[in-house]
């Protein structure tokens, strides 16, 4: 369970990233955060694994306030909370297998990881996860030889290999074309259901949010302006979240046939 209690974040330059956020995310939920760029979606999601640190309030992950975490505790938290990025963030010159095994870093000692001394189980886990996202045949290809969609699948395999309890996805489909976007979202949804991993995804495409989310949180100017199950959401809700009428480019389109 993730609980935001009066969480606020002011960046050093004075910008308010988050304003008095109060949100509770329950086990196994698939939450989509929507909002225009600059609304604070990224800041919200990155607070949970402390890539950014809120400046006020408290943020509880499994009933522990993570805002004071440092060093070992912080790494433990990040091992539990996996992350997927817009630009995949793979190491381009390294092969797919090693990229996926990097998900084990938090569970592996420094020396063991430096000399690639991964256990048989870890390697099997990495391979199985590549299989789950149907990309095991690229095992020994360098990451930069893959297409965008393939790279994002590898990064999903990496996050799975981490055996996380939560997955955060920061605009995971923003750099992909419509069919590939749906493929990636389908994998995320499938993993959420099969492994019961709580998943929080940032999106700015309305149709995709409606199609995959259990619950939608709308953000504008650092504040939560909507929070409710997807069944309560209408086009009017999005107009309120975005503060303007819905346009063509708010939709991804191209749902799988």
């Amino acid at each position: 369970m993730i609980e935001f209690k009066n969480v606020g974040l002011v960046y050093p330059n004075g910008t308010e990233g988050l304003k008095n956020i109060n949100v509770t995310i329950n086990e196994g939920e698939f939450v989509v955060i929507v909002g225009l760029s600059g609304a604070g979606k990224s800041t919200f999601i990155r607070s949970i694994n402390r890539l950014v640190t809120p400046t006020s309030g408290s943020l509880l992950v499994d009933n522990e306030d993570i805002l004071k975490y440092k060093g070992k505790n912080l790494r433990k938290l990040r091992t539990k909370v996996g992350m997927i990025f817009q630009n995949y963030n793979l190491v381009k010159r390294t092969n797919v297998f090693k990229n996926v095994l990097a998900g084990r870093l938090g569970h592996t000692g420094t020396l063991r990881s430096i000399f690639n001394l991964y256990s048989k189980e870890d390697k099997a886990l990495a391979y199985n996860n590549l299989n789950r996202v149907n990309i095991a045949e690229k095992l020994y290809n360098r990451a930069d030889e893959l297409s965008g969609g393939q790279q994002q699948r590898v990064s999903i395999a990496r996050v799975l290999t981490q055996k996380p309890k939560y997955i955060l996805a920061d605009e995971p489909v923003a750099s992909l074309d419509p069919p590939t976007s749906h493929q990636v979202m389908t994998y995320l949804k499938k993993i959420n259901k099969e492994d019961n991993i709580t998943t929080i995804v940032n999106l700015h495409f309305i149709d995709m949010a409606m199609e995959y989310a259990d619950r939608i949180i709308g953000m504008r100017a650092g504040e939560v302006v909507f929070d409710g199950p997807v069944s309560e959401v209408t086009e009017k809700t999005f107009e309120e979240i975005y503060g303007r009428s819905i346009r063509e480019d708010d939709l991804r389109g191209g749902a799988q046939e």
């Binding site: 694994n49 890539l51 790494r75 433990k76 938290l77 990040r78 091992t79 996996g82 992350m83 990025f85 630009n87 963030n89 793979l90 190491v91 381009k92 010159r93 390294t94 090693k98 990097a102 998900g103 870093l105 938090g106 569970h107 592996t108 420094t110 990881s113 430096i114 990064s155 990496r158 996050v159 981490q162």
Partner: protein
């Protein structure tokens, strides 16, 4: 309507007038500096270029033909020079790693540490290699060892600077991903930084190796061992045919090593 017409007729300038004036002033200032330096440096050139041309013949006559009989005798010193460069480059390459990481702003976010290493490296680079050699020869006596020390310190300054700049230009996204998956500092560096800088690192080490070969010749002249020492002796005895042979051998060696390391670098990048 009228303004639009007049603009098109006059043909609009590409740059605003202010920029043009600035560039013109800068151009004449630079030109002035060049002219001044040229006049000043010519003042104490005794014979001008005419004398140099005349001297050329005497110099060539003294140096030619080179005495190739000494080839086998100088071979050992040449090898010594190469070995000095290899050892110095290797030690510098190892010592560079922590220094380059600590002086890269994107990795060392703890500012005081960054400033301390940066300043240390800047200081290191301000000492000319020749001065280093003179100091170490004074400390350890004539021989190869002070030469190796001087070369190590000298190349460490260059290498650490170049590599820290390479580190500063890497893609930070993979580092963020490793941090987000719970990796510690060493794991983040090893998994996402090392693969990104490894090719440039190797290439720069080879480049510094080339520089070291050339520098070690010069260092030999102040007593730091190797072929430079022999060259210096021959020049002092006015034995120009012998000196010429040594110069040709150095020239050939540098060319061969540059060729090999260029090929290696091409294969890497």
């Amino acid at each position: 309507m009228t303004t639009k017409n007049s603009l098109t007729q006059k043909s609009m300038p590409l740059y605003p007038a202010k920029t043009k004036i600035q560039v013109t002033i800068i151009f004449f200032v630079v030109l002035g500096i060049y002219t001044f330096s040229m006049i000043k440096t010519q003042e104490d050139m005794v014979g001008g270029f005419g004398g140099a041309l005349g001297n050329m013949y005497t110099v060539i006559e003294k140096f030619f033909p080179p005495n190739f009989a000494i080839l086998s005798a100088i071979w050992d010193s040449m090898m010594q020079t190469i070995q000095m460069a290899i050892i110095a480059t290797t030690i510098a390459a190892i010592l560079t790693v922590p220094l380059a990481v600590l002086s890269a702003q994107n990795i060392t976010t703890f500012k005081p540490l960054y400033y301390v290493t940066r300043t240390f490296l800047n200081l290191l680079r301000t000492i000319p290699d020749l001065v280093l050699a003179v100091i170490f020869v004074g400390l350890f006596g004539v021989g190869v060892f002070p030469g190796i020390l001087a070369l190590t310190v000298f190349s460490l300054g260059i290498l650490a600077k170049l590599i820290s700049e390479t580190i500063e230009s890497v893609d930070m996204n993979p580092l963020e991903a490793m941090r987000a998956s719970g990796g510690n500092v060493f794991q983040v560096i090893w998994y996402s930084l090392v693969p990104q800088v490894a090719p440039q690192f190797t290439s720069l080490v080879l480049y510094v190796f080339e520089i070291n070969i050339r520098a070690s010749v010069v260092l030999g002249m102040v007593g730091a061992g190797g072929i430079g020492l022999v060259l210096n002796q021959q020049l002092k005895f006015y034995n120009y045919p012998n000196a010429m042979t040594i110069i040709i051998v150095i020239f050939a060696t540098v060319l061969i090593i540059e060729f090999i390391s260029n090929k290696l670098r091409e294969a890497l990048l």
